[in-house]
């Protein structure tokens, strides 16, 4: 009776949906980063006996991508991820449209000192990330599918990151992601109702550190490959 509007149709419910999908995407980002760090393992680390004597980063990365494509639970999680991104984007658009409708006439004088630039511009940061994802998918995911059976993904990545504009584009996308995470992680926990001043205080700093570590680690990969 009380929930006549439906779970995710109220202002609070929609934010819940943003938080859940956002946190799932963050989980993916961690896994994605760990996989990609294989690309920059120095040659001196090989052969790694622990993993059956892998000879080079080249072999290891291609074996890793082969595993991702042929292990069905990964495919399943990938589809959940695509759905999460789609819901995150659509929900953000719905919230923004509704919020724009709620706004009255514009103030003649505005003062933004009461909130951070990041928190006010999650939409712009998200749009940059969205454009980045489309290009990123076109460069690798699409090519991998088009090139057919067992392409040399390592070679494709290295060749792509030897282009200056690609490196610059990736740095922009990654920095936007870092800023998006700073506010996103804190906001998600608030939306889900982590009612504890101490916990929120800690989460705020964890979000900052996490965003910094993610940004730095993601950002060095294209740069290292470019100068290799």
């Amino acid at each position: 009776m009380a929930f006549k509007k439906g779970l995710f149709k109220t202002s609070v419910g929609r934010k819940n949906l943003m938080a859940i999908t956002g946190l799932f995407i963050i989980f993916f980002l961690v896994i994605h980063l760990i996989g990609n760090l294989i690309l920059i393992i120095p040659d001196t680390f090989f052969p790694i006996e622990f993993w059956g004597g892998v000879e080079s980063a080249h072999d290891m990365y291609n074996a890793y991508s082969h595993f991702l494509v042929h292990f069905w639970p990964i495919t399943l999680v990938a589809w959940v991820l695509y759905a999460a991104i789609a819901v995150h984007v659509i929900d953000a658009l719905l919230i923004t449209l509704n919020n724009n409708k709620a706004k009255g006439e514009k103030y003649q004088v505005t003062d933004n000192s009461t909130s951070s630039w990041i928190s006010r511009n999650m939409g712009i940061l998200g749009s940059i990330i969205g454009i980045f994802i489309v290009i990123h998918m076109a460069q690798f995911w699409l090519k991998y599918k088009v090139l057919g059976t067992e392409p040399d993904l390592y070679q494709l990545v290295v060749a792509t990151f030897k282009q200056e504009w690609v490196v610059i584009l990736y740095e922009i996308g990654i920095i936007a992601l870092g800023f998006h995470l700073v506010h996103g992680i804190e906001s998600a926990h608030r939306s889900l109702g982590v009612y504890s001043k101490n916990a929120m205080h800690v989460i705020k700093y964890i979000a900052l550190c996490f965003a910094l570590v993610m940004t730095v680690l993601y950002a060095i990969i294209p740069i290292i490959i470019y100068f290799k």
């Binding site: 009380a2 202002s11 609070v12 103030y107 004088v109 009461t114 006010r120 109702g193 009612y195 929120m200």
Partner: protein
């Protein structure tokens, strides 16, 4: 001291408004902001012009009637002050102040700086009540309440419903006001009877009134004259999600 005021003048809800410039001199730094507007209105009345309309009542920072956005800041430049408690010593001689009404679609302008905040009353009506025994007033302190909880509930109950949170929010969300009301009653034993349904009724009413969705920028808590904190919004979200599993029917 001398001040230049740019004041929003608008004849009624449908008319188009504009900023009109007035110059005031012989002001005292000890005057309150509203006394300055009184002085302006006296001058306008003598000249036979229509006076500037603005909301005010107690003028001691507790009724929540005064509003006004001064230079883009709800309730003026002093943090956690109402407009009526702001004095001219907060400004410098020769300053130009732009004075606008609280803006949100749910706060239609009645005239000049006066806005209709009935939408907030509708949120209160949707769930701001408790069940209790009728008859003579019970002995106080029959229900033991932990000191910290009663203090915390009082911090939330301090909300005077002025609407500065809505005026400041980039989404015109009333989440801070709404959550202060939800949290205040949810924390106390007297509010437990309707605890689960209250938050849902009030959030639904908030959305029906056309307020936006909270994006946790925290601007509201920075201007709130009663220092209601952002954690109250988190409490409201907690109550909302908790009620998903507890509402009957």
């Amino acid at each position: 001291m001398k001040l230049t005021l740019k004041i929003w003048r608008q004849d009624n809800a449908k008319a188009k408004g504009k900023l009109v410039t007035y110059k005031l001199s012989d002001l005292s730094a000890d005057m309150s902001f509203l006394e300055m507007l009184d002085m302006l209105n006296e001058e306008l009345a003598i000249k036979g012009e229509r006076t500037v309309e603005f909301d005010h009542d107690c003028r001691e920072g507790i009724c929540g009637q005064c509003s006004l956005v001064v230079n883009g800041q709800a309730h003026g430049p002093e943090q956690h002050y109402t407009t009526c408690q702001t004095h001219l010593r907060s400004f410098s001689d020769g300053d130009t102040l732009t004075i606008e009404p609280f803006r949100a679609n749910s706060f239609p302008v009645i005239r000049d700086l006066k806005v209709d905040r009935t939408s907030m009353d509708h949120i209160i009506q949707a769930g701001g009540y408790i069940s209790s025994f009728t008859g003579i007033a019970p002995e106080a302190n029959t229900v033991p309440i932990h000191h910290d909880i009663s203090e915390s509930a009082f911090d939330s109950a301090a909300c005077i419903g002025c609407g500065a949170c809505v005026a400041t929010c980039k989404n015109s969300s009333a989440a801070l006001f709404l959550s202060a009301k939800v949290a205040h009653l949810a924390k106390l034993p007297q509010g437990k009877v309707e605890r689960a349904e209250r938050v849902v009724f009030m959030v639904n009413a908030h959305d029906d009134e056309g307020f936006g969705s909270c994006t946790n920028t925290g601007a509201c808590a920075m201007v709130c004259p009663q220092e209601v904190q952002l954690i109250d919004i988190t409490r409201m979200n907690y109550e909302y999600n908790r009620s998903l599993t507890t509402v009957e029917g």
